[in-house]
Amino acid sequence: MLYLSQVLGRPILDLEGERVATLKDVIVRLGEDDHPPVAGFVARYRRRDFFLPRWRITDFGEAGVRLNSDILDLRPFVRRDGEVLLARDVLDKQLIDVDGKRVVRVNDVQLIEAANEWRVTGADVSLIGLWRRLAPAFLRSGRPVEVIDWADVGYLATDAATVQLKSSRGKLARLHPVEIARLAESLSYQHGAEIVEALDDETAAETLEEMAAERQAQILGDMDEERAADILEHMSPDEAADVLGDLPVEKAEDLLNRMEDEEQSEVAELLPYADDTAGGLMTTEFVAVPRDLTVGDALARLREMAETPNMIYYLYVVENEVSEKLVGVIALRSLILSDPSSPLEIVMRSDLQVAHPDDAAADVAQKIAEYNLLALPVVDEAGEILGIVTVDDAIEILLPKDWRQRLPKLIG
């Protein structure tokens, strides 16, 4: 086993044991392997960097590197796709430890030889690793250290990040979107954006929803437009509308135009409403059923829906298939408990609470809390249902302003 700090700056020796160059960096190739193999070295000779392929080396250790021939190929070093330089890209940089769900700083890199091949096995994040690089050799400790298995390295916060996006995706997906968002926010904005881009559309959308509003807008605004539109499609329409509202007008229009028709129209409906009104809070994802169905039909219809809205606990009963005029509401609970053959009209409640798009957000939230609702329908002047405000949006408004001050908080 070797540590990167023990080999950097060591001599590269020819067959006679003469020093011909200095070891500047170790190249690994990220790929399917959990523990990527060493692909070569960067040698420094007279202030220039040369590439040394792995097969040109016989010994690799604390004493340095030994060449297997006298012919030194002086090809200048150029980084290739998928390659990571351990000293330049990993050492002293931050990475995401998927297992510990945290961002750590790499104090050293652990290399292990197995089957005649050197592999990167872990990132040393311990104090001892720090000490190994700071202290003179005789003061170093041989104690075991805290090493993060390379298989758990979800993301490397380095400038050469494009090489690792594919391998990051799978590992980051093991985390909950809440956790990904928290980790991404603790890195610089460039790296945070890269992490979001590395995720699949669905996870990226969920992760973005967990982030602060300005940050969502920044990340989507800087992203490739097509990709941003794809992610927006996966966000819930009210969240997507909020983000678009935070972007410059032309940018928002561009992204909206690139979205698929269905999602586009859902989001577009929400855009004109001010943030602090019922219209600004509402989402267009809800279940509406015509009044002439039976309970059984309604349940069947619910099952057949291609995409079930988040909010299925209330089914909103409307006049007929064409008109969206709201006539009643049925809780999922009463739907399940009712006789499948009874008509909806009998089971539904028609004395329901509604809001209008221009109602103040605070009043809407108040109403949701007062009536213990999970959602409140928003209707226009004709009584047609436009959308619903769900309880999660109400919570945000109802939390007292000084709530945060009553909770232990982190400064910084």
């Binding site: 904005y189 619910l302 099952r303 909010m311 606990y313 945000e396 908080k409």
Partner: protein
């Protein structure tokens, strides 16, 4: 069918999660360390933070001991401060990372250790000066420092670890606004404006140890190492991007000019009231006398309120910011809500600095004002280390791209760093060999 059920299930879970998420997001929207700075604009607030106990003591001494002679320093100082602060703000906007982060990532462990040591010593010194400020202020109210300092230290430690510091912070900030009174006091003291104008552009230099000492203290208290760390963090925290950086640049320069203007008035008011009578600033009470044209008999009370506010504010923020920087650079667990077991080094550094500041401030027979000046001198001596690191980083094309320094900025910073280094060496030399430059 089964698939539909899981779909509905997932939908319900999503709703629940979003509910929780909203609640969390609301709660997490708590003010972070530098956010209160951001409201005013990071540049303005960071620059004004220089007017703490050490700053007031230094500039009051400058005015009392040297009259208007050192006023000329303020003009080059404005440029140096503005340039240095602007570079760090720019690095924050371009890289999205803090200064400690960048130093670690670009320079490796050993240089990081050196810079962090310098920062620890410099900030440790400033922390000491803040507790000395608390002691001096409370003594003006007639409370012995053996009572006031330990209470203040425990209160600060407790408030920060319990997370309620931010609520009292605004009170301290408001209290420190008292120092704006120096502007009024300076105007009421009817200084000889013609002399002021001449001295402002008339360089005057001596190789006397006392003069050099004051000179380094003036630089150290104006361009303190912690201010570079502060401004960069607050720019990062505020999420400033290169595209929107222009506003921040303006903010930095406005802040710089504002801060130096306050300094200008402190020097004038002390020169016009104390220097003309040959008085020196050996205690807080004497520094307060410069406020007499404004407050008459209440000058001491007014001064004590301002000093207490400014000192309490910085005595909490500085140890905390130092602990953050060092933890950031070395990757230690950090956060005040962590326990000692989770973040031993972070909380250790924080606690150590608070305790050190309080203990030194309580030493019997300590000449308070002198200690305040010495801590600013330490700042000045260590400043070049941070400046050289900043210079290397800001000129790193890989890091900064097109946002690297222009030649004027480089020249100004190099000049600052070299002049401060030279002055520090001269000062040390003359204090070791007092007769070095005697004729």
């Amino acid at each position: 069918m089964a698939e539909q059920e899981t779909d509905a299930d997932a939908a319900g879970q999503r709703l629940l999660r979003r509910s929780a998420q909203r609640m969390r997001r609301r709660i997490e929207r708590r003010p972070r360390l530098f956010v209160y700075l951001a409201i005013f604009g990071p540049g303005v607030i960071t620059a004004s933070a220089g007017n703490d106990a050490g700053g007031i003591a230094t500039f009051a001494s400058v005015g009392a001991d040297h009259g208007y002679q050192l006023l000329w320093v303020l003009i080059p100082l404005t440029f140096s401060l503005g340039v240095v602060q602007e570079m760090c703000a720019r690095m924050g906007a371009v890289t999205g990372k803090g200064l400690a982060d960048l130093i670690r990532e670009r320079f490796g462990v050993r240089w990081t250790a050196l810079v962090m040591l310098a920062l620890l010593v410099a900030n440790g010194g400033v922390t000491v000066s803040e507790f000395v400020g608390i002691a001096a202020a409370m003594e003006l109210f007639g409370i012995a420092r053996y009572i006031s300092v330990p209470i203040a230290a425990i209160a600060i430690w407790w408030l920060i670890v319990k997370g309620s510091y931010q609520r009292v912070e605004r009170v301290f900030l408001a209290m420190s606004l008292v120092f704006l009174g120096y502007v009024v006091a300076a105007l009421l003291a009817h200084p000889p404006w013609a002399t002021v104008a001449v001295e402002l552009v008339h360089p005057h230099f001596e190789l006397a140890p006392a003069y050099l000492f004051t000179f380094v203290a003036v630089i150290g208290t104006t361009i303190s190492p912690y201010m570079q760390v502060f401004i960069q963090s607050s720019v990062v925290e505020k999420g400033v991007r290169p595209e929107s950086y222009r506003l921040t640049r303006i903010d930095v320069w406005v802040g710089t000019i504002f801060a130096i203007l306050i300094v200008f008035f402190i020097v004038i008011s002390t020169a016009a009231t104390l220097h003309v009578r040959g008085e020196h600033v050996d205690s807080a009470a004497e520094a307060a006398h410069a406020l007499r044209p404004l407050a008459g008999a209440y000058a001491e009370t007014l001064f004590a309120i301002g000093l207490l506010g400014a000192s309490m504010l910085a005595a909490g923020v500085l140890p905390l910011a130092t602990a953050y920087s060092i933890s950031e650079a070395f990757g230690f667990e950090k956060g005040v809500s962590s326990s000692f077991r989770e973040a031993p080094i972070f909380l250790g550094i924080f606690t150590f600095l608070v305790a050190l500041g309080a203990l030194i401030a309580m030493m019997p027979g300590l000449p308070l004002i002198r200690v305040l000046l010495v801590t600013q001198v330490i700042n000045g001596v260590l400043l070049p280390i941070v400046l050289f690191a900043v210079l290397r980083l800001v000129n790193d094309r890989e890091l900064m791209g097109e946002y690297v320094n222009g030649p004027v900025y480089n020249l100004a910073t190099w000049a600052t760093a070299i002049i401060v280094s030279a002055l520090s060496l001269l000062m040390i030399a003359t204090s070791v060999f007092p007769n070095l430059f005697a004729k």
